[in-house]
Symmetry: C2
Subunit: 373 residues, 2 copies
Amino acid sequence: MAQMKLQVSRRQRATPYTSRVEALGVSGFSVVNHTILPKGFERSVEEDYWHLKNHVQLWDVGCQRQVELRGADAARLAQLMTPRDLRQAEIGQCLYAPMIDADAGMLNDPVILKLAEDRFWFSIADADMLLWAKGLALGMGLDVTVDEADVWPLAVQGPRSDDLMARVFGESVRAIRFFRFDRLELNGREIVTARSGFSRQGGFELYVDGFDFGAEVWDALWQAGDGLELSAGCPNLIERIEGGLLSYGNEMTRDNNPLECGLERYCQLDGSLDYIGMPALRRIAERGPDRMIRGLIFDGDACPACQRPWPLMIDGTQMGYVTSAIWSPRFQRNVALAMIEREHWQHGTAVEVHCEDGRERGGVITELPMEGP
Amino acid sequence: MAQMKLQVSRRQRATPYTSRVEALGVSGFSVVNHTILPKGFERSVEEDYWHLKNHVQLWDVGCQRQVELRGADAARLAQLMTPRDLRQAEIGQCLYAPMIDADAGMLNDPVILKLAEDRFWFSIADADMLLWAKGLALGMGLDVTVDEADVWPLAVQGPRSDDLMARVFGESVRAIRFFRFDRLELNGREIVTARSGFSRQGGFELYVDGFDFGAEVWDALWQAGDGLELSAGCPNLIERIEGGLLSYGNEMTRDNNPLECGLERYCQLDGSLDYIGMPALRRIAERGPDRMIRGLIFDGDACPACQRPWPLMIDGTQMGYVTSAIWSPRFQRNVALAMIEREHWQHGTAVEVHCEDGRERGGVITELPMEGP
């Protein structure tokens, strides 16, 4: 079932780049935020992995929808929705921010862009944070407008990203710092552009403002790629797992708190900051999380796609579960992300994975990002 | 692009019935509420249409997730979320209910099941109403628990549904009234079962409580099908369009209000009922909606899949758009649902459809459900 046909309708929204990725041979889509996300092109996942690590790719990540908060209470609502301390956040900053409910369950893990003191974009993972923000704003009587911006992110990822971007936008793009954004210009229109992206290979995310402008931006970058081995791409599962990048809905759900997701550094826990879920999160912090996300490297031939959590066993007892897994050509073994009980989460612990092909494979718990050959 | 491969991961959840529909040759999925929905089997959509109209089908509609409200303020929160008057609602009743925001924009169109005076299920279309309800409850300080129930709807649809259900649950199922539910029993476990479903061919929806119980219920129904030409099925686009059944995300989005969606009969508009969006909705009602959903029958050979709204032209000017369309073997013409401006929404109006294959096809506005051969 790893690949099944997807029926597309208006409900599964196209992006401004859909026509471009179709022309370039996109082979499948996922659905994120009611929007289609390319999941592969003509290359294999392994070929795509090596390309991403060596060259530069254009990614249609229009599915990273922007929930915009603006108005007098925008900063207050933004802070209520995350344990991350936004008090010192600067305009031009991107902030990775867990979002939690009153029980400290993970609702999302967006990157927040602070556009102005009273204006924010939440660049969201797969859940309708628009509805959460609107519900809170209405329920609390806040003076804030919450809507989905007509903004369609386009990512440039890979070690030659700066070279490609400089050809289109000038050398100044090289000065954009990590998780900061600048306002670039193309054909008289401004593009909020951050050094960020869902890989560990460097690059940018262009927050293209206006569906009608998207194809023009794609084409300008595409046409500038001569000699850079530029290709269309998409988030790569091998690279993501090795890099320890979490995917909301896969590694974490509402059943997980940010501490067990390894996100403690984004959580203000001293009680001085008011946000939803703060008391619950502090209680968890006091006793320590019961389980934690870890890397896992395991043996056997290439594992199947992980479509539901796989039991992770130690001495015949389940001590966690695998949430994402794939064969790594670099390690020449399978790599995975797993949630593991406290007593067993030390690096080096030997485990057995019960994959959904019915086979058991032995492995060992590792650090994230994974250090390897 | 109408059919593209779908990558399945934990984020796109399987249902208790996924293994069963796979064994029966499911050919594709859609994604609804982060859950996979079968979109076809080995038959064509046309063959499936005739089968549904003549026999009985089992549908995996586990994607119709249940947002449960329970507690002292459950009824209050339920009423706040819909313009439908719930004051006289009875336990055992199912209520189709538009949900709107403060601007009267459609957020969802669930069926609400009143389980008790202080307990409701919202059987939702594709949007995270859990987050809307949780945000409102928290923001307003309501005494209500909001969560997603471990309930996985299974639909029995088609004219022989009563016969199939009676074989498994006894003759008393025939007495269940339309949009009422009863509590049936199988192997000692209770199943809330309503006479309802996303077709006009009659049938039931079984709200199977417990993922672990799902396959057992499916199998009991499947094994009882001898001589009834029972098969696996799914919502059928031809039947849905002819029947005028709307799909949230296709026919309506937050940009639409319930009046233009033809849902006025579910809206209490006299000002005596307090719900979110009431003032905005009353203002729209006073001046009348600017556009309305209509049926459309149009010429030419079989149209392509409608992946984005198609312009609907009258005398060279756009006067609306088509949201869903397909060839109808019964009408031997294309059928569609369309949103049409007030001046032109009369039945019989001649229009021209600009399909996404670049071709223009002439048609005429019709009533819903469509009366035909």
